[in-house]
Amino acid sequence: MKKIYAFESRCLGCRLCEVYCRTARFKSKDVVKAHKRKNITSAIIVEEVLGPNNISYFALQCRHCKNPKCIKACISGAMYKNDKGIVRNDSEKCVGCLSCILVCPFGVIKKNDDGKSVSKCDLCADFGEPFCVENCPNEAIKFLNEGEARALK
């Protein structure tokens, strides 16, 4: 299964992935509209790593675990794994109990501002390749299968 892998040595910490993640969640895929009209939660998190002389960064999002804790913890059945192995959250069913946040070992599920649902990366499954990957200016995140990713790490 292809997932998004981050390459710390390439990550600039520009956080464009977050911008494009939010945009991906907006129907028109217009960056300005996505940010001005609606408060959308990004499902990608850019973290800093403080080195002795420098700061480096990496982007993190749902790892689509083989045996996801979030699905086990979900009380409403909103969280599920689709036939492609992508872990998705059905916001219609989600009640915002945050049990998934409680158990996610990567800490990559976020509460939406409405308090009634959560946001997580679904690899932009509904419209193609992940938007964040497509728009990373430095190829610091790539959409790869595990073998490819291991070869590059």
Binding site: S9, R10, C11, L12, G13, C14, R15, L16, E18, V19, Y20, T23, V31, V32, H35, K36, N53, N54, I55, S56, N135, P137, N138, E139, A140
Partner: protein, 501 residues
């Protein structure tokens, strides 16, 4: 203090309707032009620090930024124009020599743009490079006077070692130190993939890059930074740098802030120390000294590496070039006055040297008159901007060209002329790890490959149009050129006819 205020060169305009306050510009500007004001929760701008590198403009996801010339005007005066006045302010404040980067920006004639190429019509066919072989390979190095065969037709002449270029374009000397490790890696990998060469510049060569040796030209300059036997043998050819087009007559200067641990190890100088190469080589005070250095380098490398000699295009280049050929150089590199640099005194950059087109024409003609043109290759540099510049250079008589500025532009450079600050926002002319990182060699080497491949395609098309299917049949083929907007003397020096003649 207030008297020292220098009016900004640029103005950054943020379109509030488009800005989404994502702070990408804040994260990306190493000059801190963009900053986040916590009190007002808003992204702000300090124009005075902007160098117009376009990093923020390029990365802004909503295209909310525009940079333009700062609109503040001085009273109109063609003599005392704004730039002249500002330079005086700056020098009177600091007492320093003005420094600039990249090539001469002054409005001198650009002869490439005054020469036009020929094409076949009716009397001979143009050749379609998509359907017919079209050769752009060139062989650089010393050539014997003639080939000798024995009675059975067996070749007796042993050829001196030459290097082969699949495309007659190489990446010119840019030292590790002046440019980043990732920039170097991109150049090296691109050269390898393209079957051409990149040049280490005068900063030595990191051992990590020895693996690209067969596509590397190692440079020996007056500072001798990082020069040792292993280094000399690491590349495919050696280049002695006598001069550089951007700053003929003076040596290089790498500011200490660009000398980190890796650069220090590679250059064999202490961390943080300025790397200042002397104006002349102190073992070359005349042409016979050059011959000695050429042959010492050949001795050190077992006569297995061609030795190039790079000179700046100056008034007497033709005679100097003749001397260089006779001194035993396998190739002469001539760098014109528009050649780029990481840092040069502004006055030198803008006022010393001559246009490469004229120098090239004069040198090629002089070497032919002396009957020695075929002994040695002639490589030109100094603002080759596109494939037609390449084609024109070859038609004037060059074997190949070096590109520096064009290569760094492919790597992302937006020609902000601020290399010497060491804070290149594109990760090219910097050593700050967080900035170096911005240049991803995986991406950028491909861009270089794209650039040269594109040029190669264009060169092939232009050649095909002229009915030529091997680039050596263009070399010195000045009948393929016609001049426009040139006077008699210029035509004479260039050795070309006027359009319509």
């Amino acid at each position: 203090m207030s008297l020292d205020f220098n009016t900004p060169d640029f103005e950054v305009i943020r379109n509030g309707n488009r800005c989404i306050q994502c702070k990408v510009c804040v994260h990306q500007c190493a000059n801190a032009v963009h900053f986040y004001d916590e009190e007002y929760d808003v992204v702000c701008v300090d124009d005075s620090k902007c160098v117009n590198c376009h990093r923020c403009v390029t990365l802004c996801p909503t295209k909310a930024l525009v940079i333009r010339k700062y609109p503040l005007e001085f009273r109109e005066n063609f003599n005392w124009h704004g730039k002249a006045i500002k330079e005086i302010y700056k020098q009177s404040q600091t007492g320093g020599v003005l420094l600039s980067s990249m090539g001469n920006p002054e409005p001198f004639p650009i002869y490439w743009d005054k020469m036009l190429l020929n094409a076949s019509q009716v009397t001979n066919p143009s050749i379609d490079p998509l359907r017919e072989p079209m050769e752009t390979k060139v062989v650089i190095g010393r050539k014997p006077e003639r080939l000798k065969f024995d009675a059975n037709g067996k070749l007796l002449t042993k050829m001196p070692l030459n290097i082969e270029l699949k495309v007659p374009v190489m990446f010119s000397a840019m030292s590790y130190g002046s440019i980043s490790r990732n920039a170097h890696e991109s150049l090296a990998r691109a050269a390898e993939e393209l079957g051409i060469f990149y040049n280490t510049g005068e900063g030595g060569l990191s051992k990590d890059f020895y693996k690209y040796g067969k596509n590397t030209i190692v440079q020996v300059a007056s500072g001798r930074f990082g020069v040792h036997k292993e280094y000399l043998n690491a590349g495919a050819a050696i280049e002695i740098k006598i001069g550089q087009g951007a700053k003929p007559g003076i040596g290089g200067h790498l500011p200490g802030k660009k000398v980190g641990e890796d650069v220090s190890a590679t250059r064999m100088i202490p961390v943080g120390s300025d790397a200042i190469s002397p104006a002349p080589h102190h073992d070359i005070y005349s042409i016979e000294d050059l011959r000695q250095l050429i042959f010492s380098l050949k001795e050190a490398t077992g006569y297995k590496k061609p030795v190039f000699v790079k000179i700046a295009a100056v008034h007497n280049s033709a005679a100097i070039a003749s001397g260089v050929v006779r001194a035993g150089a396998d190739a002469i590199v001539v760098d014109g006055f528009r050649g780029g640099t990481g840092a040069a005194p502004t006055r030198v950059r803008n006022n010393v040297g001559i246009p490469i087109e004229l120098a090239l024409a004069a040198i090629d003609q002089r070497l032919r008159e002396e009957g020695i043109r075929n002994y040695c290759s002639l490589i030109v540099a100094g603002s080759i901007r596109n494939s037609s510049d390449v084609v024109k250079a070859i038609a004037l008589g060059a074997d190949a060209v070096y590109i520096g500025s064009a290569a760094v532009i492919a790597l992302g450079c937006h020609m902000c002329h601020s290399c010497s600050t060491g804070k290149c926002n594109w990760g090219i002319a910097t050593q700050y790890p967080e900035l170096v990182k911005r240049l991803n060699p995986d991406i950028m080497y491909k861009r270089l490959v794209n650039l040269i491949s594109a040029w190669n395609n264009e060169i092939q098309e232009l050649l095909g149009g002229m009915g030529i299917n091997a680039i050596e049949s263009l070399r010195g083929n000045r009948l393929m050129l016609r001049g426009v907007d040139l006077n008699e003397k210029e035509l004479e020096v260039l050795g070309i006819k006027y359009a319509g003649e």
